[in-house]
Symmetry: C2
């Protein structure tokens, strides 16, 4: 059983949920067209299926090992790193100055989805590298860009993000790592960081760490944090690598999943580093790349969900009980349908978020950019949290389809269930996403961004209604009722934010879930409508049926979620100590 990218469905979502042809009209993507998209998807699909997917279970089995020379990553992953380098895959969305191809984000996300479907522990290396590239592109001096970016964009070096410390997890502002100025303008970093994904490994020549630390004169808390870049090997002025910098991995975490991804405890002992951006503005610099990083984790959820769906389908097609193949049993079919429907919906949401990000950056018109930015900001926490929560559910359903085999370590579905559980936690827990949604994204613009989204949802529901026949009339009714529920929930949330923040926060996660359900239904319906003219095409038929199933299975529950957002939050707030076991 090996992962194979669902290229037709990905293409459908790129075109009809992410409007990728609209992007091709922007100057920034002048050289992009759908032929190029198809070529990229095909080549990426081969890489994922032929080079990366075969490593998934063996690398999980090997894990990662720490020796005197540093971390030994799973040997079978070397071919993946080489293929990323040789195919120029790290350059897809990077800026052209240092070798980037600047293709539209949704396409780059589709590529990353494939890597995650093929081997998500491996995919974390490019995810972190892309994050580091983003940060350097946005904040580093030209000199530092020239030093680091070409080799990272070419796939010769990887990147790592060193934020977390034991006392500073979600609360990054509590970190203690120090940076002392050296005489030559560089800095000496001292401290310990934990949970550093791919912080060290032996498959590439160098690893560039972006490290958050405090300067000697730094204010307390989050306003006193600066961002630094530290290279595993010193870089000579001519670009050649010299001896080791003074930081190293001193421990590997033993984790539930993503075993092939080395999760390092890093010790920096006067490590030579360069300041990125302004002193004390490190957290702001990190925030500018947070949308992209969170969206990448949402896409991680999509890719792993797809792998879970494929594993369940393959098992159901060969396992027979009661003289019947599992694939012919309605309860099994429904589990698979549920996985596939939420996978397609989360794919649509994530690609659409990427579309909004590109429009926010590159649209010609300032108003369009502003509206797109609002949409990107609104969708990002949903893309991250909803996609990963649904992916945990999807992997659990895939385990369930396997019956007893699903609990055996040798089963891919079992590995996926282990791997996926980190995604609702890192890059901002899903609780933090929910607080971000109701706070920075909802309250700060008094719900204007959500109102604009709801307006689009209602227009789409109306188009479905006037389409005039099944299943669109049914979808229209579900989508319209779900929009009403989200609208009511938004009103409640905005009022709660004003009157009693605790109540609002107690309803935040349930609110995000509803928003994700509605957004998923909206994008699926949009895509289904766009493809309806060509209903005989199997992909069209599949998208339409999936939109209908999503509407009946998930959107139909939207009105009933209203009370669990609002009334349950009220009860909780009134009885918080009793209910949460404090009393």
């Amino acid at each position: 059983m090996s992962y194979s990218a669902p290229i037709k469905l990905m293409r459908a979502m790129l075109q009809h949920a992410a409007d990728i042809e609209t992007l091709s009209n922007l100057d920034a993507f002048a050289e992009f067209d759908t032929d190029l998209m198809d070529a990229v998807l095909d080549e990426a699909g081969k890489l994922a299926r032929d080079i990366v997917a075969p490593t998934n279970q063996p690398a999980h089995e090997f894990g990662a090992r720490l020796g005197d020379e540093g971390v030994t990553a799973a040997p079978m992953l070397k071919a993946g790193f080489e293929a990323l380098r040789d195919g120029g895959w790290m350059s897809l969305s990077a800026q052209p100055e240092f070798g980037g191809q600047q293709l539209p984000r949704p396409l780059s996300l589709a590529f990353m989805e494939m890597l995650n479907g093929a081997n998500t522990a491996f995919a974390l290396a490019p995810i972190l590298t892309l994050g580091a590239i983003d940060a350097l592109q946005a904040h580093a001096s030209d000199d530092l860009k020239q030093r680091f970016l070409p080799k990272m964009i070419s796939g010769e070096w990887s990147g790592a993000m060193a934020l977390t410390e034991p006392q500073a997890g979600s609360d990054v502002g509590a970190l203690k790592t120090r940076a002392a100025p050296n005489d030559d303008g560089s800095y000496a970093i001292t401290g310990q960081k934990i949970y550093i994904t791919w912080g060290d490994h032996d498959h590439l020549d160098n690893v560039i760490h972006l490290v958050l630390a405090r300067l000697p004169d730094a204010p307390q808390g989050s306003k006193g944090i600066s961002l630094f870049a530290a290279s595993k090997y010193h870089i000579e002025d001519d670009g050649t690598l010299a001896g080791r910098n003074s930081f190293k991995c001193i421990g590997l975490e033993k984790k539930l999943g993503i075993h092939a991804s080395p999760t390092c405890v890093m010790e920096y002992d006067r490590a030579r580093a360069h300041l990125i951006g302004e002193p004390h503005k490190g957290l702001a610099a990190m925030f500018t790349m947070m949308n992209a990083a969170r969206l990448h984790i949402g896409v991680q959820g999509v890719g792993v969900s797809e792998a879970a769906a494929q594993s369940a389908i393959a098992y159901a097609a060969e396992r027979r009980q009661f003289n019947t193949l599992l694939q012919d049993m309605p309860d099994i079919q429904r589990m698979i349908a549920r996985i596939r429907a939420t996978t397609l919906a989360s794919r649509a949401i994530c690609y659409a978020t990427g579309f909004a990000a590109d429009m926010a950056e590159y649209a010609a018109d300032a108003d369009t950019r502003k509206a797109a930015k609002q949409r990107e900001d609104l969708l990002t926490p949903i893309a991250k949290a909803w996609s990963t929560d649904r992916s945990v559910e999807a992997c659990s359903l895939a385990v369930q389809v396997h019956g007893g085999m699903g609990f055996m370590s040798e089963t891919l579905a079992c590995q996926l269930y282990q791997d996926i559980r980190i995604t609702p936690i890192y890059e901002g827990t899903n609780g933090i996403q929910a607080l971000d949604l109701i706070g920075r994204k909802l309250a700060s613009d008094k719900g204007a961004g959500m109102a604009a989204l709801l307006d689009d949802v209602r227009k789409t529901a109306e188009r479905a209604r006037t389409y005039g026949h099944a299943p669109f009339t049914r979808i229209a009714a579900r989508l319209s009722a779900a929009a009403d529920a989200l609208s009511d929930a938004t009103d409640w949330m905005l009022a709660a934010q004003r009157s009693d923040t605790a109540r609002a926060q107690a309803g935040a996660t349930a609110y995000l879930k509803l928003a994700g359900d509605v957004a998923g239904g909206y994008f699926l319906t949009r895509a289904a409508l766009a493809m309806a003219a060509d209903e005989a095409d199997p992909t069209s038929g599949e998208v339409i049926a999936t939109a209908a199933f999503f509407a009946e299975d998930i959107l139909s529950t939207a009105p009933g979620q209203l009370a669990s957002i609002s009334c349950a939050a009220d009860i909780l707030t009134e009885n918080a100590d009793i209910l949460s076991g404090k009393a």
Copy 2:
């Protein structure tokens, strides 16, 4: 962080969801009273906390090992087996003839809940032993009872259930293991069994296997299966143990969780065994104990959920982020409240199912027994499936409360998340429970059992309404609307069963979820009403607040579940191949 049994809440559910005082009026339980209940709960709580809970993480770490002499179980578990034996704990619910105390089932379930909360991998040994005791009590000849039961009930020997074969999982009827008659009236069993929990270990003197196999003249399929008992060591006529019987563990499964529970591949090579009950009636014999076994797995879910709640509460009480303890953050409080509410509801359902089972067996009046049997049959698949599904959710929420620490193998919540995932799979997958609910339990009596339950639910809602003040008036409205939804769903399901079985089956799991939500809300409300007179008592206040939270958080979604039972099943049935990835 160690497990401590929530005795006050357990006692509350024993009294007010399981009506244990009603049982004390039956002849069978003449010697039982609440003083005895309290003494048992206290002693059991000490055993769980002091002897068993400290083994949970070390035993998980050790796992189980296979050597030439058989399976070496985690050494730290030996004290647990000794305590079970020395305290006579295996005798709680067993029949008096062979040393049993015949206490009410709900109390025995409360004890098993504690063992599961303390170390669920260990608890599987007594669970399987109790299952084997049940089967022998119900079906073995007096001679065989005398041979096996005293040592099993005394806790000196354990039991194992050998059903599954590679091609015969849920479909037990497909098994191939053969039993050939010996000259002395015994049988020689030959074949291989997989997934045999605690099939071998070194902590007790002997292990009694109940094995399903085919006699030479057996009909094909499930009507040709007979039940046998095979002892790891031969038993002399005077009861002493002689040499090894010819069966052994030839492999241990590598699993996601319950590492300390040896999951054995067993090979029987002309193993000496005794027929239990009639030839070819083995499956029927297994079915008679299936209710009990399924209820035990439901209780496993309850115990692990409680442990998850406690782990989350303990972490939230000490972990500080943004200068705030997690326990003071509303989103964290809500996750904990959700865990605790579903834990209490599943506890209530499981104990109430045990009550129904006792009434079905021991009530003086035949009509009462019949009605109780109907209730037991109806609640059993709900107790098994709903409790375990909610427990998977609970353990996932406990991981989430821990943030990054939740993904680390050293964290108890991480272990619980691994351990619990088997419970929706074994002892009949939760999909099979759902099919059992809509088939054997709903269609076979044309919904009469469900109608009787709904009648009780509505009466309780009415009592809550007439109670006349908050939170009961709110609870009443939620419970009443939820009962209507379940009633409508039942009508749909009965009609679908008649017209199109596939549609019914496609809605089965969603239907069971709704039934569990309603049953949970009903038992919590009953308990809350019973305790309302004493609202100042902290336990009363907690049960009432929990019932209110459950009503607003979970019951409130019941009406919205109707379409996802019925309409989603319709869409699925119409598009099964496309949606489930066959096409």
